[in-house]
């Protein structure tokens, strides 16, 4: 079974797993990422606020604080190396009650202690000039110029693609069913076969506790904390210029209102602990809470411009810090767990930290620099392409002139590209994450049949095999039926 022999098996192809994979691809090692879904970025990584946090939130001295601030800095160079969208729009924590001002000052102090640069408190006049739609009750705000927004799909796909380009293997539809010690190695049993490995990285998101508990004496419990969101049409873009957080009031924690890199406005999240780790459904109560709270820090949020609502699950652990390290009594089994917010921001630093641990365990050697590709070609974004450059694209490949998605301006060529990149898209949602198709105001009403036709042609699939998000989510039923 030599073909199933690995140095490292990473469980979970979210941003953490993919960041670890990319870092490990610098070493002489055979690495495989196993993922239960049909694509990367299918769990917590795909359904979150898409914020690059400055780092003032986490407790000083915590691992979370350190990795957040480090990740924030690394994210900028990573965006250049890997060509994904990152906008350094800055963030504001708005105080709407003068009595809570000490809490804002405490945030500032904590941020300074965490090493966050450029933090300061802006008073109402300056705040209004920075953010004209800030609430009438706004007193002042904590301004964090290093805050930003990122394309969470683009980030995760980019990490994975770069890892794959450098030789990391990916196994999809491979939910892990068991992890066992066998001599001084691990057997990872998945739905797609068993892998033998020297080292396991547990980046299984909300299921990291289940994986951990398979091998550890000291048990872990991850609670799925649901966050529900409204996503508003690009017509709402500009309503806020920065990521606007609400300083918690007596009424509880608020929701954020932020631009997204795709030109939308995101509003949310709620925070409700749920038993069912698959329950990424929105609820009437959760959506109502978003509606009720969005006006605390920002006025007149145009919720009628909603194009979709969604929910994501954060992997919360009661100590509210990341759990990263080799598990006691399980040599070679490395946790990368409880990666809740600011996990997205921290992922570049998490990747390095976990890779260093694994390198130490497996005594990995660096590959020659000329063997490693550190950059990753980006994807075309026609909304940001000049007419001249667009014409150059059409001259090279005429299908750049065939627009498939009118809302987000995506051409046939981009869909075809998504189907043939290092981590190929195999479902409609996977194409969405790579191109933006179906993400706009028509939510796929216009482009879905066109994308299906391209998938049929390019992948040789029957229409009835095409799925929204992997097996079980087929878009069509067999003609003729039962």
């Amino acid at each position: 079974m030599a073909s199933d022999q690995y140095d490292v098996v990473i469980v979970g192809a979210g941003v953490s797993g993919c960041a670890v994979a990319r870092e490990l691809s610098r070493y002489e090692a055979r690495v495989c990422v196993v993922e239960r879904a049909d694509d990367v970025c299918c769990g917590t990584s795909k359904a979150n606020s898409a914020i690059v946090h400055a780092g003032f939130d986490a407790q000083a001295g915590s691992m979370m604080a350190r990795l957040n601030v480090e990740g924030n800095k690394l994210m900028r160079e990573l965006a250049e190396e890997l060509n994904f969208a990152l906008v350094p729009c800055g963030s504001l924590v708005v105080c709407t009650d003068a009595q809570t001002r000490p809490a804002l000052e405490a945030l500032l102090e904590r941020g300074v202690a965490n090493g966050v640069e450029g933090l300061r408190i802006v008073e109402r006049d300056e705040l209004v000039s920075m953010e004209p739609n800030v609430s009438d009750e706004a007193v002042c705000a904590l301004w964090a110029p290093t805050g930003g927004i990122v394309d969470p799909f683009g980030l995760c796909v980019a990490l994975a693609e770069n890892a794959a380009t450098n030789g990391v293997e990916f196994l999809f539809n491979a939910g892990v069913e068991g992890v066992e010690r066998d001599d001084d190695e691990w057997l990872v049993r998945t739905k797609a076969g068993t892998l033998r490995t020297r080292c396991v990285v547990n980046a299984a998101g909300v299921y990291a506790d289940e994986l951990h508990n398979m091998v550890a004496d000291k048990k872990m419990r991850i609670v799925a904390r649901k966050g529900e969101y409204y996503l508003l049409d690009t017509t709402a873009f500009g309503h806020v210029r920065h990521t606007v957080f609400t300083l918690p009031t007596k009424m509880g924690k608020g929701v954020l209102v932020s631009p997204t890199v795709h030109g939308n406005v995101i509003v949310g999240p709620t925070a409700t602990d749920v038993e069912d780790k698959e329950s990424v459904d929105t609820t009437a109560a959760g959506l109502a809470e978003v509606v009720a709270k969005c006006g605390i820090a920002v006025r007149d949020v145009p919720l009628r411009e909603v194009i979709t609502t969604f929910a994501g699950l954060r992997a919360h652990e009661e100590h509210h810090d990341f759990i990263i390290g080799e598990v006691e009594g399980a040599p070679g089994f490395v946790d990368c767990a409880a990666i809740e917010s600011p996990g997205l921001t921290s992922c570049p630093a998490i990747g390095r930290m976990v890779a260093d641990i694994v390198r130490g365990i497996c005594d990995l050697q660096e590959r020659p620099a000329d063997e490693i590709v550190r950059t990753r070609p980006g994807v075309v974004n026609l909304l940001a392409t000049s007419r001249e450059d667009w014409n150059d694209l059409v001259a090279k490949d005429p299908t750049y002139g065939n627009l498939v998605c009118r809302c987000c301006r995506v051409s046939e060529a981009q869909i075809v590209d998504a189907l043939h990149r290092p981590i190929p898209a195999t479902s409609i949602d996977a194409i969405k994450r790579r191109t933006g198709c179906t993400m706009g105001r028509c939510q796929g009403g216009f482009c879905t049949p066109k994308i299906m036709a391209i998938m049929e042609r390019e992948l040789g699939m029957a229409p009835t095999q095409i799925t929204k998000c992997g097996p079980g989510s087929e878009l069509l039923v067999q003609e003729g039926g039962e």
Binding site: D281, T308, W390, G401, Q443, G445, L475, G480
Partner: protein, 429 residues
């Protein structure tokens, strides 16, 4: 840069009728830019009959209706750019489009007619709680899959919304062998045509649940069930009335939205009610030289009215491009002082198209179209010019799903020289 007298964006029924009218009004060069590879727009997927009863006095299918206009457009020498998506329209009437053959190209227009149609309101815009599985389709997307691609979106279907496409698809899915459990409608009345309720639901025993909505969608990968509840007068679900419908497909027919992204970027002022451009008597928008017609202007019930409206828009655009003031007004006649009458709506009327009229520039007779905001019985449609009621016409039934019209005469408006506004409203007596 290429130059045309009139450039029409969209080759559906509105665009085709506007193009024919523009050519017939004397424009040499008329171009239709269509994003699809064929003309006809949404009519191509509307394979049921019932089109053209007003225009041709016979029942045609959608494609047949489109073909008549397409043939005529070719006959009169309209030019076409197919497979071309317009990406922007500037206020100096330069239209940029992109196609495989030509890349990004610009066209200078003497006048532009917006005829982009509308799109369907998607599930996301309703914020229905639940999962986001496969099997949720807007009725029009399902219609395209079934009628044009020969594919089957599902077997056990629930339809939310009783817009016309939803009603048509209830019948179509039934004929294709699916089971349609019900059509749920939030409002206490249907948004569709009466004839479609009879022919597509009643004839097939499909229940129409008025004042009901979907409160939850089950199924992580593919729809497994939807929950439907009664709603109160404020359209809020009434607790305890939820019923679970096991199904694999949820179809939505919950409203059509005029597709005005290009218009907005071109600076065209839009109506918050119709979401289409505000237009004057010549169907000209707030941007001089830019005209609008069809579903991009306001959502129509019958294609016949789209054709009529587009014919007017095409003529007016042609006259603009040729430098004439208006079809019926003599070029060298006495210059009349410009007097713009505002069209206002009251009790029961949601909007009118157009929203302003300059009597000196209008045709001899001008059709004003409008919709009502509820179901009314035995009401009068009244038109006031200034304080004077000039029209008072009894209607047995008025419903939001059916477009209404009144025809104003130029003479009536010119006579009342001091009036500043026209009011269209419903009156009980």
């Amino acid at each position: 840069m290429l130059s045309y007298d009139v450039v029409i964006i969209g080759g559906g029924p509105a665009g085709l009728a506007a193009a024919i009218a523009a050519r017939e009004s004397g424009c040499e060069r008329v171009l239709v830019i269509e994003r699809d590879d064929r003309l006809g727009g949404i009519l191509n997927q509307c394979i049921h009959n019932g089109f053209g009863l007003h225009t041709f006095k016979e029942e045609l299918t959608g494609p047949e209706y489109a073909a008549r206009y397409e043939d005529r457009a070719h006959e009169v020498g309209v030019e076409f750019s197919l497979g071309s998506m317009v990406i922007d329209v500037s206020s100096d009437l330069v239209v940029h489009a992109v196609s495989q053959e030509r890349g990004v190209y610009g066209v200078q227009a003497g006048a532009v007619v917006l005829a982009m149609g509308c799109r369907e309101r998607p599930r996301g815009a309703l914020a229905i709680p639940g999962y986001r599985p496969a099997g949720i389709y807007t009725a029009g997307t399902a219609q395209r899959l079934v009628n044009m691609e020969g594919q089957m979106p599902g077997r056990e279907v629930v339809i939310l919304g009783s817009g016309d496409i939803g009603l048509i698809m209830a019948r179509r899915m039934t004929l294709e062998g699916a089971h349609v459990a019900c059509v749920a409608e939030l409002m206490p009345y249907s948004g569709g045509l009466k004839r479609n309720i009879v022919q597509c639901l009643d004839d097939y025993g499909i229940p129409l649940l008025l004042s009901h909505t979907v409160t939850r969608i089950e199924g992580r990968k593919r729809v497994e069930a939807v929950w439907i509840a009664k709603v109160d007068e404020q359209r809020r679900p009434i607790p305890g009335t939820e019923v679970r419908y096991a199904c694999d497909t949820l179809m939505l027919s919950v409203g059509l939205l005029p597709e005005n992204e290009l218009s907005r970027e071109a600076g065209v002022a839009l109506s918050p009610v119709t979401r289409g451009p505000l237009v004057d008597e010549s169907l000209q928008t707030s941007v001089p030289g830019v005209f609008a017609c069809g579903n991009v202007l306001h959502v129509h019930d019958l294609v016949d009215y789209v054709s009529q409206e587009a014919d007017a828009a095409g003529r007016c655009a042609a006259h603009y491009a040729l430098g004439k003031r208006s079809p019926d007004v003599q070029e060298d006649g006495p210059a009349e002082a410009e007097r713009v009458l505002l069209l206002e709506v009251e009790s029961g009327v949601r909007y009118t198209v157009p929203s302003t009229i300059d009597p000196a520039r209008m045709d001899e007779r001008l059709t004003v179209r409008f919709r009502v905001d509820n179901v009314y019985r035995d009401r009068f449609v009244s038109v006031y010019v200034g304080d004077e009621r000039i029209m008072h016409r009894k209607k047995r039934v008025l419903a939001p799903g059916e477009m209404e019209e009144v025809v104003l005469k130029r003479a009536d408006l010119l006579e009342r020289a001091h009036a500043e506004r026209i009011v269209v409203k419903l009156e009980e007596d």
